[in-house]
Amino acid sequence: MTEGEAADRGLEARLRAIEDRLEILNLIAGHPPGADSASGEYAASQWIDGGEFDRGPGLNGAASHAETIANLAAPAFQAAIAQGITHFAGLPYIEIDGDHAVVTSYLQVLMPDPHGEAVELSAHGTSTGFRIHRLSANRWDLVRAPEGWRIARRVLRSMDGAEARAILRGVAERRLAAKQS
């Protein structure tokens, strides 16, 4: 291998790492539009078959990915859409390790405030506001599939419980473990 070829190979690996990161950002950014439009097809395309969904005992909702897709089509979820459900994602933190990745992110579930007093914002009209119904820490375990990065497992916990802190602490613990090895 010539020096030029070696340098090209280095460029290729770095470009691949960048593409991975951007694809994963996009995957996470794609979750709210998929959920808020109840697109089962979209939700299905983001996951591997048999993907695991763990929201703990505290939160209502699906316990597996297959159930999530079924739930999106159910009348109850359509009612949530009619209420104005909005998933609002924070900036995800991404750790890539070969063909696996872990993403840690915060997610708000918002809806119009049913009890809100009208407040006026100059040049923007009057609003009874939106409320944050849920606030969660999320851990997404991703795998590189032949079609691209896919979700193998998602764990979410409400921010007002101790388990959310464990998800967040995981970021530092993995980093420490990587440094030591």
Partner: protein, 179 residues
Amino acid sequence: MPVKKSARNSLERRLRAVEDRLEILDLIASHPPATDSALRSRAASFWRDDGVVDMGEGPKSYKAMMAILDSPGFEDAQAQGICHFSGLPQIELDGDKAVATSYIQILAADPKGEPFSLSAHGTSKGFRVLRLSANRWELERTRQGWRIKSRTWRGMDSKAARTLLRGTIERRKAKRKAA
């Protein structure tokens, strides 16, 4: 086919700029999980040793802010569900320096909230936005990677926040003039 050397230099520069940008995104994204789980050593690792924070009362060492993470008050804040929620940062790269401008919400569970229900999602007393700020992060490339040199924080209900935000436009104008 091997790439020509001149083309490779240009590719190298462009690739480096993309890598810098992603590393800075990473730095901004990793700040909330470290803070919210009170991992002082992790939070401290983002900073240059002489890094400063300015929360509106003038600059002081970032270490003073880190001490909050160890206080009993912060433990209570965690039990209340404290969450730093970051918007998408705007990043200006300039060689070995960079400025990131971002919005951050500080949220917590609302103990007095009137319960409200969302179909298929149960009932909640809700979470509230307790603070909403504009942030300017001045970053520097060090041997260990990008590190924070200073962070300026201004509440969105202050004039100073607007000045901070206008900085993104003013720096852009100045850069254009210089070029």
